[in-house]
Symmetry: D2
Subunit: 331 residues, 4 copies
């Protein structure tokens, strides 16, 4: 009964079918018909023109998106515990040619206009200090919290007022939309680019960079090739994304993961470090309690000395979730 | 009847099976058992210890390999028409942080010790000129020519004498081995790292960087993550490589492609710009002749004004190859 | 009566003389006799073999030194308020190709082994997090505090134990030596490279990078050229450094600056935010008090809302220092 | 009697005077009054608005200028023997973050629209090949040839038509103007940025980047700091440039150097590899002849096996030039 992460879950059957269906000769790279259809699909989903690039990883998606907004001498405001700061092996420094991450505070790894201003207002407007060029937020956040549409709008307004690009890391975007009960467009708000994640949500190897400012996509295409991320058989990635969009599979998968998380959360009460607004739970429990859970067959990560992290996925079995819920209730 | 490229051919059924077989929970990234088994497989194939990293593209494989051998202020000697120079969108400049490609001449896009010395000997040993740090050759070359084992050894000796790293771009390594009729170890010779390509040879999205100097692999692991190339579900890439190695499928596929190329070559006579030593043919023919071939249903690229390029793949049908052979004979 | 900074003070007459004396034809770049003599001079001063490169700025000195110790995928542990983090316009990101600064805490902008361990011990030893490659400290620190020789040794031991490079930003190294009353060798301790600053200490445009690990210098020479820092008339920079070393002018200048600072400090009592161990004073005073001082003709920077920063220089007049001391005493 | 290079010549007395005159307290970096006056001076010289940044080296000037025009994934068209390609230690790769130099042919190291088109027209407009972002020419060229105003205009028209930036490396710009007998504005033509060199023309350590597109200067200011090229006592650099502009000293110095070169050229006849249009001579002569000249006390560089390079400077003595002229005549 594994609750380690959603990032290694199996691939949804519909994606296998779609990839097999794509297994016919077509143009290489992103010249195939399947890749070419992505712009229209995403534009329909988001209700505004967008340009879509597939890549294989969230790290590549985030960094290629940011590279279109940030000059090498600039900076990106993000949360101190953002994935781009903590878990991407310095990829932003590579893709952005040494640009700097400017770290902001915020409960549950969420940013607010106030927190962003606390970082950028003290920066002297001179060449000795790195100037902000963009803001990046994570929807849902690294602690499984979702930005309400009005919160995204508020940050977008600050970005616009300060002339900053605005990027959303949506590695678990589906989970946020499922929790918020709003549209994808509302959950993304007026960002310039969204890393729309599918790998954690039942995909194999395809993420979408959705550029709402399509001029940025024209730059990103060159950067994607230059970073070795333009696969020659791109149709297999595009096929995964199409399959995810068909019948809103991405949303169904996310709802399933969220439901399992909610089932577990119902037993956690005061143990929860953060409200559960996606598919991750951060649960206070002692090392003895964690031993107890592991003895019962549950797999998960320690989160510091006094807590555990549980992540559900699109294919988490209901009986596993109920069992974990019960086990936590019995601690 | 498509002879455009092998880079968009369909995926071999055995690889689909292997990927489906890998579709069970396992550790993320390269922590899974399938990825972990690659070192042993490749060490067995090459008869010496090696460390293997999977990546999704040949560009990433080449550039990550070179980045372990070349400091940002150094240079890489390669052929003027090498893929890394001509067709990777400046990726070496990105991955190597501005290191320079030092371009050498050579028939059929092949380097020789003499051609390499012609480039590096005139470089003044001072800080004003970029010093060579590595040599990169392509096996088989961009014009479908294969290096004989002794030719690789001769370049390796020069590399060692000058303290240079030695990399082999093996996007079509299987085709070279199939042509040479030698072992993989002999075709690779004493290089430090080999980009062992599978995508053009029936793969979907997996290439192997084979480090014979395993200390380089320790650096490459960090660089792979930093470049966004560490996929979280890496087992699907590793599974493709295992399937390719099983029963030497890579060699069988390459032989099939080469056989189709040889069939076509048999009709070309003096039209051939280069001996056919892999699965690519560069065939002199006028625009009228190309029109004729296209009218007969053959797809291929023009190569300048007076030639055409035909590429066969693992799945090129024998009747297609025969038909093309006949059509060229009839021109 | 200016106490704004030492970084724009006038040039010491001995340096003008030395530059004029160098105004004869000689080999360009660092091929001249004056540049060639620096290694021996510095080796004599520090009592161990060293290799010296001149550059025009402290930013270049720091970053070129660090670039020899830190791979692009690595990190540099430094204080949260270190100059390389706060005031170099992102230069480390540029020179180190995206390597990351790992920020540590510490009173008075000084690091301790404990503070460094607090940063590096939690870094997971995997490719997802940026690994430390070097430590950089500032002697004297950004708050005018000097590391005692045993403090430098303790950090060096940690660096060695962890396999990290060790760099010292000595923009005000002379002031530290003057305060500590020890030798230059003791104040530098076992660092691998020292940015030995002269510009703030009466120089015009010359800083020395002193490499105690001379293999690093061989790399730095290429990087200096590549960064456009190899001046063709380098002898005028080398001449400044020689003049500074002649009769320990660097130490005399630093003592003069420190003495002026001590004079002012003597009137500050509890107002001092940090002990004065070099030529900088951070003095608590209200905005009204600062107005009073400015009305008396003193120039200085505000330091936040409740303090002022005063910096003395090699040429600070004694009567100015006494006047400021008296004025602060009268507040 | 040295004809090695102008790059290590002594400093003109007027510049010493100007630097000494600047030796008073002022604001650091480029905040001083002397630096602030440069825009106006250069705008007057060129008859159009420009923004001026000082730096210490031509390499920094060239690369900082180009970095404002070229994205990291783009390229710069330059001559195969351009200084940025041959003699800057890979600095363009560093400052431009891996952008590529696209090498064109041309007699005497001069480019023409035709030569540029021969490079850029074959570049496929796709992401696999590096696209040109700018053109850089050298005035006077690396072989001492000067572009006529109409030649610069023709290249500028091509640049505009293709949306490319246009940079001029003017390490010997004064020599070109002196030869052409036109205005500085005519010799620069409609470039976007000019590296206006002074170091080779009697300066110590100051070159000017003259931005005619002043928006580029706003970017370059950040990049200059980030590259460690913002000296804290910048007024000593600015003072050198002012002194050079006073009474057109730059032009007088260049004329003196050119006159010496012309004197020598008058004896060379068919020996000249290129017309002498600045202060460099490339003279065919055998190794025996070179020995003869050296035995007579002349210092110069060999240029390959069958030629010698002679460079005159602002302070080349007339009797030395006459002596060399005579000696060559006597060969």
């Amino acid at each position: 009964m594994l609750f380690l992460s959603d990032n290694a879950a199996t691939v949804h059957p519909a994606l296998w079918d779609a990839m097999r269906a794509a297994d016919a000769p077509d143009a290489p790279y992103d010249g195939d018909a399947i890749s070419a259809g992505l712009d229209e699909r995403m534009s329909a989903l988001f209700g505004r023109d967008c340009a879509v690039l597939w890549v294989a990883t969230g790290t590549a998606a985030n960094c290629l998106a940011l590279a279109t907004m940030v000059q090498p001498h600039g900076g990106v405001v993000c949360h101190r515990e953002a994935h781009i700061e903590m878990d991407e092996g310095g990829a932003p420094g590579f893709f952005l040619h040494g640009a700097k991450l400017l770290l902001a505070e915020g409960e549950g790894a969420k940013l607010t206009p106030q927190a962003i201003r606390a970082v950028i207002d003290p920066i002297r407007d001179d060449v000795h200090q790195v100037q902000p060029h963009a803001i990046s937020i994570t929807q849902a956040s690294e602690y499984g919290r979702s930005y309400r549409p009005e919160e995204v709008v508020a940050i977008a307004e600050l970005a616009r007022a300060r002339g900053l690009g605005f990027h959303m890391d949506g590695a678990r975007f589906g989970n946020a939309v499922a929790f918020l009960g709003c549209s994808a467009a509302e959950a993304a708000g007026p960002v310039d680019a969204l890393s729309f994640g599918f790998v954690k949500n039942g995909g194999m190897s395809a993420e979408a960079i959705v550029f709402f400012d399509t001029a940025l996509a024209d730059v990103a295409r060159y950067r994607r090739k230059r970073a070795g991320h333009l696969q020659s058989k791109g149709r297999y990635l595009a096929a995964q994304i199409h399959a995810m969009l068909d019948g809103d599979l991405w949303l169904a998968n996310a709802r399933a993961a969220n439901a399992a998380a909610a089932e577990i959360a119902s037993a956690c009460g005061e143990r929860l470090m953060y409200p559960v607004e996606a598919n991750e739970l951060f649960v206070r429990c002692s090392s003895t309690e964690r031993e107890t859970l592991r003895a019962l067959g549950f797999g998960f990560y320690d989160w510091g000395d006094d807590a555990a992290r549980f992540v559900t996925a699109w294919n988490t079995r209901e009986d596993h979730a109920r069992a974990l819920s019960a086990a936590i209730g019995n601690l």
